[in-house]
């Protein structure tokens, strides 16, 4: 029965049922650890408050990090790559044709040379 869930890749295998079972076991372990945690602390004191370098924590309802503020580190680290790749996407139809004809010529050369 369990074999029917197994995907054979020819070099290995993958079984979704084992994944689901492993996920459940991890969930149960997590829940057990959480349930054995300290239950007596007082949530009304500042003991549970976030520490933001001494600044007041803004209301949670007032904070939403917008898409434009995400992954700035990633794009900054790859700024050299993006400086090269973004200008290629000009939006100009003539450039689209040029890319198409360039690839056609290149593939023709490769296929003829390596026939």
């Amino acid at each position: 029965m369990i074999d029917s869930f197994t995907l054979s890749t020819g070099f290995g295998a993958w079984n979704a049922v084992f994944w689901v079972i492993a996920f459940l076991i991890a969930f149960i372990i997590g829940w057990l650890i959480w349930s054995r945690g300290e239950k007596t602390y007082d949530t009304s004191t500042s003991a549970t408050a976030s520490f933001l370098s001494g600044n007041a924590e803004p209301e949670k309802e007032a904070v939403h990090i917008r898409a434009g503020n995400l992954y700035w580190g990633y794009t900054d680290a790859l700024s050299g790559y993006y400086r090269f790749i973004k200008p290629l996407h000009t939006g100009n139809l003539s450039d689209y044709f040029l890319a198409y004809l360039f690839v056609t010529a290149l593939v023709l050369i490769v296929v003829v040379v390596l026939k």
């Binding site: 995907l7 979704a16 898409a67 992954y71 990633y74 973004k86 198409y100």
Partner: protein, 522 residues
């Protein structure tokens, strides 16, 4: 009843074409009648597609000739051994693609009935939708190169008109123009290739040409014209520039089907490489050209997706990236199958992985574009910077988006993982660097969709979307069907591979079988 079953391949095209031409007439009777008509027509053509596919998988390749009573009349006695009529050749590879088009075609129509509710010009819209569906079915089913060109043009023109449908201050019209112009140039160069082959072999039938192929200089030129036209139509880098423009501006349900239309071009690309030029063209060279296009598409697609702020443009770049996986899998398959140093099983597994990814991608990317459509429908914007907190009110849409996002990122147990695993493992044995790049691209895909998920659904309720409602029921049903398939194909991947993918891969490899199915071993 038998006559209906015997003519299912013909009905596959006839039903949506007839449906399209009658839609403007029925629109005069009111919106509900037109909507019911469009749903019935799409439902019937999807049933036809699924029945044809099941017939092929049970009994083998179907050769359907328009205008003859019996299969023995396929080749007229006075034609010099050349089948001269319009012939549909549907082997398990075509059946595989028909199943994809049938499922997604029905879901996008169901979605459109609701999503287009507030807009005008729906008679023209649904006429074009049915023409697009007919065009894609024709591209998949035909065994004739000129017919393929005709259906390619039908789907391209209907697709371009649908991209431009909303006009949107001219931006959509510009995107539609770009799609139409590039498709026309691609189509014309494809037609030149058809002419070169016809001039030499006196036939337009793929099986006849494959049988007589000599690989002359003109044949090589025709091959390159086919190859680049179809690679451009499927959005391979660096010919992908039209994809984000068109996918972003088309209505979301249309974008979901444009993905299938691109995959029909991808199918044709594989058909040209494996069948039309099977055993003639150097598979190692062509395999590596496909691999390089695949790697470029994967990497440039995903890296261009991450900084996008328009959710549909972002998803469009991911479509380019995912096409790269399919090209990689099939390219490795083609190269490895011809290699004397590598086991054939590596090539077969890579090919199966690439094909399985076509099906999975059509389903989860269709689902993702539909969720983007719901956001547009309810919030009126695609700008991620303006969205947030929608998970509070749109729980079903959020769950469907999560399923699609996890699947595209290759997270188990969803369907994207199963096909990517097959590609990773076989590609690793072919060339480990390719597999590493594929895995890095998957990680970047996950990062990109985490951003989209956070931006759209997480955070506090924004004042402007305080009272936003969940999607209407038809939209939820359309997304639900695709989401269920994403989960089922992820949990039972071996069944899908055994029933659909393996026969498709075998049919693609066995070009002699394709030829003899049409010519009867002639």
């Amino acid at each position: 009843m038998d006559i209906l079953f015997d003519n299912l391949p013909g009905l596959l095209i006839a039903i949506p074409l007839l449906g399209a031409f009658l839609t403007p007439l029925l629109s005069r009777a009111g919106d509900s009648i037109r909507n019911a008509w469009v749903l019935i027509v799409t439902g019937l053509s999807s049933v036809c597609g699924l029945l044809v596919a099941s017939q092929v998988l049970e009994t083998g390749t179907i050769v359907y000739t328009f205008g003859v009573n019996t299969v023995s009349n396929i080749i007229p006695p006075d034609s010099g051994g050349i089948p001269i009529r319009i012939i549909f050749t549907i082997d398990p590879m075509n059946a595989f693609m028909l199943i994809i088009a049938a499922i997604v075609g029905f879901c996008i129509t169901l979605f459109s009935v609701s999503s287009m509710e507030r807009l005008s010009g729906k008679d023209g819209f649904f006429t074009l939708v049915l023409l697009l569906i007919a065009g894609v079915y024709g591209m998949i089913a035909t065994g004739d190169l000129f017919n393929f060109f005709v259906f390619l043009e039908i789907s391209s023109l209907a697709g371009a008109a649908l991209v431009a449908y909303r006009i949107d201050k001219g931006v959509a019209a510009e995107a539609g123009l770009k799609y139409a112009a590039l498709s026309t140039i691609g189509g014309m160069l494809f037609l030149v290739g058809v002419g070169l082959l016809f001039a030499q072999y006196n036939s337009l039938n793929m099986a006849v040409i494959a049988d007589r192929m000599q690989l002359t200089g003109l044949d090589i030129i025709a091959f390159v014209l086919f190859f680049t036209a179809l690679a451009m139509k499927c959005g391979a880098v660096p010919m992908h520039f039209w994809t984000p423009d068109s996918y972003a501006m088309a209505p979301s349900a249309i974008t979901a089907f444009l993905v299938v239309s691109s995959q029909a071009s991808l199918y044709a690309l594989f058909r040209v490489c494996f069948t039309l030029y099977g055993g003639q063209i150097n598979p190692l060279t062509v395999g590596w050209v496909i691999i390089i296009l695949g790697i470029l598409s994967m990497f440039i697609g995903v890296t261009m997706a991450i900084p996008q702020k328009d959710v549909k443009r972002l998803m469009a770049y991911h479509a380019v990236s995912q096409t790269g996986y399919m090209l990689l899998g099939v390219g490795v398959g083609l190269a490895a199958l011809s290699s004397t140093c590598l086991s054939q099983s590596i090539g077969v597994m890579a090919l199966k992985g690439g094909l399985f990814h076509i099906m999975n991608h059509a389903i989860y990317k269709g689902l993702l574009f539909l969720t983007a459509g719901v956001i547009m429908y309810r919030c009126g914007t695609r700008n991620l910077n303006q969205l947030g907190g929608l998970g509070h009110n749109m729980k079903w849409t959020m769950v469907f988006f999560m399923i699609g996002a996890l699947a595209i990122a290759g997270i188990p147990p969803f369907n994207g993982f199963a096909s990517k695993l097959m590609i990773y493992e076989s590609t690793f044995l072919f060339n480990p660097l390719l597999a590493v790049i594929a895995m890095v691209v998957s990680i970047l895909t996950l990062a990109s969709f985490v951003k989209v998920f956070h931006s759209m659904f997480m955070g506090p309720k924004l004042p402007e979307y305080e009272n936003v409602k969940e999607a209407p029921t038809p939209m939820l049903i359309a997304m639900g069907i695709l989401a269920i398939l994403v989960v089922l194909f992820g949990i039972f991947p071996q069944q899908v591979v055994d029933a659909l993918v393996a026969p498709a891969a075998s049919a693609l490899i066995d070009y002699q079988g394709y030829i003899s199915a049409v010519l009867g071993g002639a």
